[in-house]
């Protein structure tokens, strides 16, 4: 459902009136649980990584390069003699942090715009939605590359680039939800009772919107993370010598047949992280549906 909210209203498949109402606090979907567990694992690794890492992730020992897993190096060493496990433990920071911050900012900003736009209507709504219509079609990778050309690679540039385009689907979703909720009788009642516009927004609209909005944020996390990783892969992400999963995969490419673990491990890390968050998003949006 959250995905469809990225489309303009006109494109939504028309909902038949017989669609069942979703109960509020039903049993969570299995994907939500599995995803949450996996995510906790990833989060713990990310936070404790630097302390858990047995070696300095940037320390090179040229003599011991491309060594297979052993007692000293559980996952072996890379082509410059750095410990793979240590690099793996700290390599997620860049992509995960950027994706998380971007999505949070996009969700907050987009929801505010969408909800206010829906409540006010008129010209405000018109301007906001036209901006959304146009920005939503900007290819985010190109905007990111362009900003990197201007401002250099780094956390700030990428967060800016991805948020500038990323808030738009959230605005559309929030607006759609707000309109739906606005039509409810109890909103009318609240208005008659004289509740201020801000009160209605904060007390009624936003709490009801949070569910689908967060589901959307989680569902988009995987894509964002992989996009940031893609930029790192081609050298526009975090700069050496810091470790980054996607950059590790790029550097290990020539050695893929000699030491496949160098590519497999970071790839698996990206996959599991993206999967866990997608599952959470899936679970959030399906909680209450028949399993």
């Amino acid at each position: 459902m959250a995905l469809e909210a990225a489309l303009p209203d006109a494109a939504l498949p028309s909902r038949s009136p017989q669609a069942p109402r979703r109960p509020r606090f039903a049993r969570p979907h299995w994907t939500l649980v599995a995803g949450a567990l996996l995510l906790v694992l990833v989060a713990v690794t990310l936070c404790l990584g630097p302390t858990l890492a047995p070696y300095d992730p940037t320390a090179q020992t040229l003599i011991r390069r491309l060594k297979p897993p052993s007692e000293a190096h559980w996952l072996g060493t890379d082509h410059l003699g750095r410990d793979v496990l240590s690099r793996l433990l700290v390599g997620g920071h860049f992509a995960v942090i950027i994706a998380a911050v971007t999505l949070t900012l996009s969700a907050v900003f987009g929801t505010l715009i969408g909800v206010i736009s829906a409540r006010r209507g008129g010209l405000v709504d018109e301007i906001a939605m036209r901006s959304v219509d146009l920005l939503i079609s900007f290819p985010e990778v190109v905007v990111a590359i362009f900003l990197i050309a201007l401002l250099g690679p780094g956390y700030g540039t990428l967060i800016l680039a991805l948020t500038v385009v990323g808030w738009t689907p959230f605005a559309r979703l929030a607006r759609g939800l707000a309109i739906e909720i606005n039509a409810k009788p109890y909103i009318r009642a609240a208005e008659i009772l004289g509740c201020s516009r801000r009160f209605i927004i904060l007390r009624h609209i936003i709490p009801n919107a949070i569910g689908p909005i967060s589901a959307m944020a989680f569902l988009r996390f995987g894509h964002k993370m992989i996009t940031v990783g893609g930029l790192s892969y081609i050298g526009l992400g975090i700069q050496p010598p810091h470790a980054d999963w996607a950059a590790m995969m790029a550097e290990a490419q020539p050695y893929i047949e000699r030491a496949p673990l160098l590519v497999v491990c970071p790839g698996l890390a990206i996959f599991l992280t993206a999967l866990s968050v997608t599952w959470i998003g899936q679970g959030l949006s399906q909680t209450g549906d028949k399993p």
Partner: protein
């Protein structure tokens, strides 16, 4: 009756056999540098045309590094600054026009008079070119020189038919003199060629050729393994082990007159302090570098020239690896540990440079120097390097590039006002000694001076010489007569063949 049958049978089998022998086959070569400047001869595109077996100069350096006749059969020094070159008779351009002195002179003057001439063939080193009679080219230099015939061997001095020069653009299709005719230029992707049936040098073995331009060295090596290419130029050291094990593939290595150098901007503080430069030198573990990034296929550098070359002192050895001493020297020079920050420039055309820069960054860090890396294409970095706007930069430099004698290199790279003096080194004494060497006719004595100068550069750490390079090309075993040219000037030759 029987005899007739046998004769008929013999003819029937001999004819297709002869036809097959005449066919020659097709070769696909994966090359590094694509033509970037519309085949302008004053740029590196001239080398692309030369390697493709199309463009030929008046003289040439052969695969053993010796000067040989090419489009000119002989040359004489008529006065200290003038040389006459006698053109070969009976040579035609691929479009049928004859090679005359006028055409050759026009070609050379065209490349001499462009706004941004090539370093190897510019008004700085060549004063004038004129046609004398039907078959002689007279070349004058600004100062007396014995190196002129060597200069005419540069790819930039290649000769094209007058029809090639149209509205300021170069059209190399059918206008060269070489064993191969370009049939199709596919942008920056590939070049298609076919045999030149009227080649002056004799029969050309191959019938067709395709050159694919693939800047990523790993992809070139992969294409060799999958069979998409029959020859892969400059394969990375990391693929050597795999390629040698692959059946049907051979690897040929050539010690090239190239040294990977970490240029240091000696005019920019604190690198103007010899101690700081020596600290940079001592911080590096050259053996470790040679063994890791280059997988043991190269030697640590003893200076700008490699140990096997005739102009190197016997006692030359690589710089030591001593991090403690490096830190001490930095302290002596007044640099606080951790305070020195620099940017390492590295260009991406050399695939090893990315890892090399990472290693340098790490080894500098151990000595208390913080380094950033800037990785880009050479063309993007060159302006900053030439203008002296850099700290240190990795460079793969051939000391026999413009001319096949290291004097040219020593003067252009380390002489005051040298045309490629990126390091901004200027030492009057150095220049004086080099000048006496240039006038010395005894080769032994000349080489001895070169050796001393090289040793001086090494001990003063004017630059940090990292490793002496080796060229590695891979090719399928069905390819015959493949050799690496020491100056990477020729690949497709008339003798190159496939079974």
């Amino acid at each position: 009756m029987n005899k007739t049958l046998i004769l008929a049978f013999a003819c029937a089998t001999a004819w297709p056999a002869a036809a097959f022998a005449q066919s020659g086959g097709k070769i696909t070569i994966a090359e590094n540098f694509p033509p970037r400047a519309g085949f302008a001869l004053e740029t590196d595109d001239a080398n692309v045309l030369s390697k493709a077996g199309c463009l030929e100069p008046l003289t040439r350096i052969d695969f053993d590094g010796k000067l040989q006749p090419s489009l000119a059969v002989s040359w004489t020094q008529v006065s200290p600054d003038t040389w006459d070159f006698k053109l070969r008779k009976g040579v035609t351009f691929q479009d049928g026009k004859p090679l005359t002195a006028a055409a050759a002179a026009a070609s050379l003057n065209a490349v001499l008079k462009v706004p941004t001439p090539a370093r190897a063939f510019s008004p700085r080193v060549i004063k004038s070119v004129e046609a004398v009679g039907e078959d002689t080219i007279r070349v004058t230099t600004p100062s007396p020189s014995v190196l002129t015939p060597l200069r005419l061997a540069a790819a930039n001095a290649g000769i094209l038919s007058p029809a090639a020069y149209k509205d300021g653009k170069i059209d190399p299709v059918g206008t060269c003199t070489g064993p191969f005719v370009i049939t199709r230029v596919n942008g920056q992707q590939s070049l298609s060629l076919k045999r030149n049936d009227s080649y002056w040098g004799g029969k050309v073995a191959l019938a067709e050729a395709e050159i694919k331009f693939i800047p990523d060295a790993n992809v070139r090596a992969t294409q060799l393994r999958t069979g998409e290419a029959d020859v892969a130029g400059a394969v990375p050291a990391s693929t050597l082990a795999t390629l040698k094990k692959t059946s049907g593939v051979k690897v040929v290595t050539l010690a090239t007159p190239r040294t990977t150098t970490l240029l240091v901007n000696v005019k920019k503080p604190p690198f103007d302090n010899e101690k700081v430069r020596q600290a940079l030198q001592l911080a590096l573990d050259l053996e470790g570098i040679a063994g890791s990034v280059y997988e043991g296929s190269v030697q640590p550098a003893v200076g700008p020239f490699a140990p096997h070359e005739p102009w190197v002192q016997k006692a030359a050895k690589p710089a030591a690896h001593d991090v403690k001493k490096a830190k001490a020297l930095l302290a002596e020079a007044g640099v606080k540990p951790g305070s020195l920050e620099l940017e390492i420039m590295a260009y991406s055309e050399k695939i090893e440079f990315k890892d090399l820069a990472a290693i340098l960054q790490d080894q500098f860090k151990a000595a208390g120097i913080n380094a950033r890396i800037r990785l880009a294409e050479y063309k993007a970095l060159e302006p900053d390097m030439i203008a002296g706007r850099y700290d240190v930069a990795l460079l793969s430099r051939s000391h026999l590039v413009d001319v096949a004698d290291p004097a040219g290199f020593l003067s252009s790279d380390y002489g005051c006002g040298g045309g490629f003096n990126l390091t901004q080194h200027c030492d009057k004494d150095f220049d004086a000694r080099l000048a006496t060497a240039a006038a010395e006719t005894d080769a032994e004595k000349r080489y001895a001076v070169y050796g001393e100068l090289a040793q001086q550069l090494q001990s003063k750490a004017v630059n940090v010489f990292v490793i002496h390079e080796a060229g590695n090309d891979g090719y399928k075993t069905k390819v015959r007569n493949y050799r690496i040219h020491p100056l990477y000037q020729y690949t497709l030759t008339k003798d190159l063949a496939v079974d």
